[in-house]
């Protein structure tokens, strides 16, 4: 067997292994970062990277593997195992773009559902903000022009929700908040 053929087979095995590895991590809600390719278990060699990435993105078998470019890293995931919405969220987390992460969720909820967003959802997975961080973040949002559309709506039981007034009027937001935080909780 020629050396080229052996190398091709090794490359193919590595690609298959890598795609599987990316898919498994995507299923579990994790990106593979560019640096991860060069450490265990992928252990890509520097001299192989050009041909490796070319094959990874040109082969139909790996068409689900997608890439997002960040400021300092590149993030890889499988579109089959991770939705683009989740990838976008994870990207914001990785890039520490917390203001946009929060604003994205609020605006999407207001526009698409439509609904307001319980202000505490960012305390849970995968956001995992601390209470004081979240309070500080809302303060920042209210002081920045880019996020002036983010407003507060309070239910009759005191639960605080947030919404974007690009998509919802205050009156409508208040009705949606009441529906979500009071009416739907009353009816089991």
């Amino acid at each position: 067997m020629s050396k080229e053929k052996v190398n091709d087979e090794i490359l193919q095995e590595n690609l298959e292994f890598t795609a599987k590895y990316i898919r498994e991590n995507s299923y579990n809600g994790k990106f593979i970062k560019y640096d991860d390719f060069f450490t265990e278990p992928i252990s890509l060699k520097e001299e192989e990277k050009e041909i490796f990435f070319e094959k990874l993105f040109s082969n139909e078998e790996y068409s689900d593997i997608s890439e997002l470019k960040g400021k300092e890293s590149r993030y890889f995931y499988s579109k089959k195992e991770m939705t683009e919405n989740y990838a976008k969220l994870l990207y914001r987390i990785e890039e520490k773009d917390i203001l946009n992460m929060v604003a994205d969720r609020i605006r999407t909820d207001s526009k698409r559902y439509p609904k307001t967003t319980n202000s505490n959802v960012f305390l849970n997975e995968p956001y995992n903000l601390k209470k004081d961080e979240l309070a500080e973040l809302y303060k920042q949002l209210s002081n920045l022009d880019d996020y002036k559309d983010i407003k507060e709506s309070v239910a009759s039981n005191g639960v605080v929700c947030v919404y974007s007034d690009k998509f919802l009027s205050q009156t409508y937001a208040d009705a949606l908040t009441e529906l979500q935080e009071v009416t739907r909780v009353e009816s089991q």
Binding site: P114, N124, P126, S169, A175, Q180, S187
Partner: protein, 700 residues
């Protein structure tokens, strides 16, 4: 009779004579089972004017052909009888999950018709074909927990016991029948009590026969588990962002996520990523404990339990050591209103004891144990709201004798101390003083204590009907569709067919696409809090909601999950499969039945309910005397107009149009809302039409 599904026999117990006989189920096959059998028995055998506690009243405990067969979410018991919660005493159903229904099928029975009244306390023992009445004098006066334990130890661990507590014995209108110590059916406990029937114990060694190839059943199960089923209430979107989902909806009961654990389980089981298709993790999807008891409940959760044949596990099994200070077990289990109702009684709030939220959790767990053991029902949460109104309006102080008023430890209520619940439930259960009339039910207590119009006309108290039952997924959530459905039954509408779809977690544009396929137009549903005038597609959606509800309670399937209108899968465009009930029916019974044919059977059951209501009320004027809504539905948001963004305010004329369109869909008289002869005969109920004609109760 077909070869599959039905056991083929019904027990008839006459408690007056002690006679126990067996009847052929085939007589009721047109009415499927459960609810359908119940309505037919009451229509044929209970004279109009009978009161719930009269010896002439009957109570039917029924299952359906799909129960016990291996169909997912199918262990439901439907109980039908007259309801004591208002002066009309109309037919109602109460339902319970647990194991009872399936065990009854395994014993070889589809239903139990209970008639007459015993002169002394008895319990019914069913062990396959052997059915006997046993002396219950040593159980009378004890709670459901003791009764269940004693009969369970007598019959063995493979038995299931449905019992009443002291509330049922004492003819408290708001009383339950309960199996498995926490699966309760509310509203008919005192009918058992009036007949001196303490409990039914059942043990079966048989099985449910499958009419067609069993592989077809297994294939359907695999398909449902992989592609269709969601979390509790058929929510198909997760409550926190998950890698598999393009949507997130924080109110969803699909709570599974990494780091959310059954904190009191051995090994601290993580609910993890329970993605669609991963059939072995369906049981982790719904951690109802944190929805019902708050985030603090996670670490007290031993596991999520539930009913026989159900993969969803919505029943939280808790170990809360703090409960022992109130003299009850630390082990508590329940779901939904079982936890919520005690919090409604403690309307002044609860005080945390050691950590954030534990006061609320302890209150709910203590209250659920007290109510469950005594067998007190809440009228879908109204008992707490009635109490709140009477207290805050000053009525209680006026109507209670001074000595009695002063004997109630109001300081505990004011301080948010759950010990107040011990006083509350004991007084109601044992009919101690005037206060105990809270257990009579809203209609009676409002009349007795002269509740003001502000009670009925304020959304805060959640009342729906002047007959004294509250809203249950009504106009405030689903506009005309919810309003129609809430008007149709004789107690709170226990229909989730419409609401589970609307609250599935999918955005409105996707819901509308599904609605268009199912009911002919995207206009069948509205964006939340932004509804439009009535149209025929909403009438079709409402009919779907009611008909499927009746089908489920007849088949018997859990309407808290079924119908599976939406799916969690994007590749299905989130479409569920509304033909599944008919597919399962065909496979299990061996009778090929299309979706349309089965829906027609549901229509028959519901039209019989309507005919029974007409007969019991002695009028065809359902529109004017039955299908009623209280004023807040129309007068809420005084500054807003109906059909404008941001209000749930309904329009009176539009609601009358909604009823007309619904009556038309049902083939009922459009003026009165009563079933016509033509429709009754189309549904093979000529005998019902003849009986109504004889009573002068067919619309002109």
């Amino acid at each position: 009779m077909s070869t599959g599904g039905w056991a083929g026999k019904i027990i008839r117990v006459n408690l007056t004579s002690g006679k126990i006989s067996s009847e052929d189920t085939s007589k009721y096959q047109d009415f499927i089972g459960g609810m359908g059998i119940g309505y037919k028995v009451l229509f044929d055998e209970v004279p109009a004017g009978t009161k719930p506690y009269d010896e002439a009243n009957k109570i039917v405990v029924g299952t359906g052909p799909l129960c016990g067969s291996g169909v997912p979410m199918s262990s439901r018991t439907n109980i039908t009888s007259l309801y004591p919660g208002n002066d009309k005493n109309l037919v109602t159903d109460s339902h319970m999950g647990g194991n009872f229904a399936a065990f009854l099928k395994y014993a070889g029975w589809d239903a139990i018709i209970i008639e007459g009244a015993s002169s002394k306390p008895v319990w019914l023992r069913i062990e396959d074909d052997k059915v006997t009445l046993e002396d219950a004098s040593s159980l009378w006066g004890t709670g459901i927990y003791n009764t269940t334990a004693v009969i369970g130890s007598t019959m063995g661990k493979e038995s299931c016991v449905a019992a009443i507590g002291q509330a049922g014995e004492n003819l408290v209108n708001l009383a339950v029948i309960m199996n498995g110590s926490s699966h309760s059916a509310g509203g008919h406990g005192a009918v058992f009590g009036s007949k001196k029937l303490k409990a039914i114990g059942v043990k079966g060694t048989g099985s449910v026969k499958i009419g067609k190839d069993k592989k077809e059943l297994m294939d359907l199960d695999a398909y449902v588990m992989k592609e269709i089923v969601g979390a509790n209430n058929q929510h198909v979107v997760p409550s926190t962002p998950q890698p598999w989902s393009e949507f997130v909806y924080e109110n969803s009961r699909w709570t599974a996520r990494e780091g959310l654990t059954w904190g009191a389980s051995e090994g601290n089981i993580d609910t993890g990523i329970a993605a669609p298709g991963d059939v072995n993790k369906v049981g982790y999807r719904t951690m109802k404990a944190i929805k019902d008891l708050g985030p603090v409940a996670a670490k007290y959760t031993v596991r999520m339990g539930g009913c026989q044949s159900c993969p969803i596990r919505c029943h939280a099994q808790m170990n809360i050591p703090q409960l022992e200070q109130y003299g009850v077990s630390p082990y508590a289990a329940n779901t939904c209103m079982g936890w919520f109702s005690p919090a409604g009684v403690m309307f002044k709030g609860t005080k945390d004891q050691k950590e954030e939220g534990d006061g609320n959790m302890i209150t709910r767990a203590l209250g659920s144990q007290l109510a469950d053991d005594y067998g007190v029902w809440c009228n879908y949460g109204s008992i707490g709201r009635d109490f709140q109104y009477a207290y805050e309006s000053g009525i209680l102080k006026n109507v209670l004798p001074e000595e009695e008023y002063n004997s109630i430890p109001w300081n505990l209520l004011e301080a948010g101390d759950p010990a107040f619940l011990k006083e509350f439930y004991r007084r109601v259960t044992f009919k101690e003083g005037e206060f105990s009339h809270l257990g009579d039910g809203t209609y009676h207590i409002a009349k007795r204590w002269n509740f003001g119009a502000d009670y009925w006309d304020t959304k805060k108290y959640s009342m729906w009907s002047p007959l004294g039952f509250p809203k249950h997924h009504a106009s405030d959530e689903s506009y005309q569709v919810g309003a129609i459905i809430n008007c149709m039954f004789n107690r709170d509408a226990q229909s989730h067919s419409h609401q589970n779809f609307i609250s599935s977690g999918l955005p409105v544009d996707i819901l509308k696409k599904i609605a268009e396929k199912l009911w002919g137009s995207a206009d069948a549903i509205d964006p939340p809090a932004n509804y439009t005038p009535m149209n025929q597609y909403k009438a079709k959606f409402a009919k779907y909601g009611v008909i499927r509800n009746c089908l489920h309670d007849s088949l018997t399937l859990c309407n808290w999950m079924w119908p599976l209108t939406a799916s969690p899968l994007k590749e299905r465009e989130y479409m569920g499969d509304t033909s599944l009930e008919s597919k399962y029916f065909s496979v299990v019974t061996g009778i090929d039945t299309t979706e349309e044919e089965l829906d027609l059977m549901g229509e028959r059951v519901f039209t019989l309910h309507r005919a029974l209501t007409v007969k019991e009320m002695g009028t065809t004027d359902m529109r004017g005397q039955h299908d009623l809504m209280v004023n807040w539905v129309f007068d809420i948001d005084p500054d807003k107009k109906p059909f404008t963004e941001g209000t749930i305010k309904m329009d009176r004329d539009d609601m009358q149009l909604a009823l007309t369109m619904f009556y038309k869909e049902m083939g009922w008289d459009e003026k009165t809302g009563a079933p016509t002869r033509a429709t009754l005969e189309k549904l093979n109920m000529k005998d019902v039409a003849d009986e109504l004609a004889k009573l002068g109760l067919l619309p002109a």
